[in-house]
Point group: C2
Chain length 310, copies 2
Amino acid sequence: MTDQGFRRIAIIGIGLIGSSIARAAREKGAAAEIALFDRDAEVRARAAELGLGDVAGTAEAAVSGAELVILCVPVGAMREAAEAAIAAMAPGAILSDVGSVKGSVARDLAAAVGRADVHLIPGHPIAGTEKSGPDAGFPSLFEGRWFISTPDPAGGGAYLAAADRLEAFWRALGSKVERMDPQRHDLVLAVTSHVPHLIAYNIVATAYDMETVTEGEVVKFSAAGFRDFTRIASSDPTMWRDVFLNNREAVIEVLGRFTEDLIALQRAIRWGEGDTLFDLFTHARGIRRSIIEAGQDSPAPNWGRDGGKR
Amino acid sequence: MTDQGFRRIAIIGIGLIGSSIARAAREKGAAAEIALFDRDAEVRARAAELGLGDVAGTAEAAVSGAELVILCVPVGAMREAAEAAIAAMAPGAILSDVGSVKGSVARDLAAAVGRADVHLIPGHPIAGTEKSGPDAGFPSLFEGRWFISTPDPAGGGAYLAAADRLEAFWRALGSKVERMDPQRHDLVLAVTSHVPHLIAYNIVATAYDMETVTEGEVVKFSAAGFRDFTRIASSDPTMWRDVFLNNREAVIEVLGRFTEDLIALQRAIRWGEGDTLFDLFTHARGIRRSIIEAGQDSPAPNWGRDGGKR
């Protein structure tokens, strides 16, 4: 256990993120005891088999005595998960989450808490894979990735000390930490995550529905670009439904801009404006260099997925 | 040299694809002599340093005596490259290419050839990375990937024998081969390659232009999905400009369907139609499974680019 470590944490929801937190916290010594609960009995049984921690039979038993409770459930299930946990939480404990939307979750959790002696500090680790479930997690998932913390800036000294402690926990898991207000989080993530996922889902759906091209042809020739989109389009459908339903204003705003830009690009193609296309394509190269320099993506050609450059 | 191998091939244009063909042909013994030419003197010098083959000072010298000439230049430069090579080509030789568009290239090359004793057989290997230039190539690039061959079905016996020989060459490089007519190729590739690239370029441009979100924020939080799009959006701008200018009808048709579907999805978000979103997202998962089963993508989470599941 590190200096900033917790004596006991509780993880509610044992999917990719919840099980990765359990694995990372154990490997990094960020928590002495790790309690887990999932409302699905099969998932609880699997978590016990995997040795992820002390799997409890109820949410109350998991959170009892925990200094930190992290809700790792879809955004639309946060309120119910908080309501199931809140009465059993210790005074002074921290309630946090990992939801991909922060405005609606902050509101939902505040409504569920109704106690002044629990520190509600929503958060969001910018990490994941396209896989789901307790087997999908791994301890290095958060290394070098950002954790966005959205504490209430009006909170008092004990509250802000709790926020510092939560952030130290995520640093111990390998994350970098940034504080942000929930509305800004939701706009930034609409650009970097929510709209990209929606577009990926949409192009897969469009390809399916083209009656002039068969599914077999799409699969065969997917290495020409299409396959890149299918990775994020294979992410958990429940999680993503809830993201779009709960961040609809920001998503619709960014989508409007995307469509406007796409139609302008389509017009440039129709009228043969080669310079417009060339300049835009050249410009787009720069951002990838920045992402690689910032350590947020692999520089390997094709991400090294074909066995790399041999 | 395999049984189907060529005594001498010439590669015109020494970028990612041209240099990969040279490396693969040597490694697999698919050609005894490999001549190369690029109109850029620096690229020729680099190709010589890399030992890719016999680097010639002119296109004529490269193609002289070659049984197969492959044009590996951007689609918009094909006609000029063919015109520079055609007079020096041996009777009975094959002229092929690797362009991402086949309708316009077949027309351009036919116009340039003007000789009945050269077999024009356009083609397209469905393989690549986001990198460009002679250093970017590697010999395994075509392994397990499709080569689409678009011979003229009206060709006679010697012509069809030449097509068989070209296809055997690509099989020797590790490819699987499919014959298709140029128009069908262009429609299928609009779905699996051209429109995905355009969408990737567009979302990068939209993210840049959002005045409410900074470029630094986009880079920092790109691991949430956005970074997936930046890989193909860092591909060669000249190549892609030419693709869109030369396959505009199919691209505009597929883009129209994409936009229609996206607007319907946006409407489902606006009106909170969770079931519509959930069903579409669930459906989209299936195609990724098919692509992985077909050996056209890696099953590793995040393509293993973060060091994989540890």
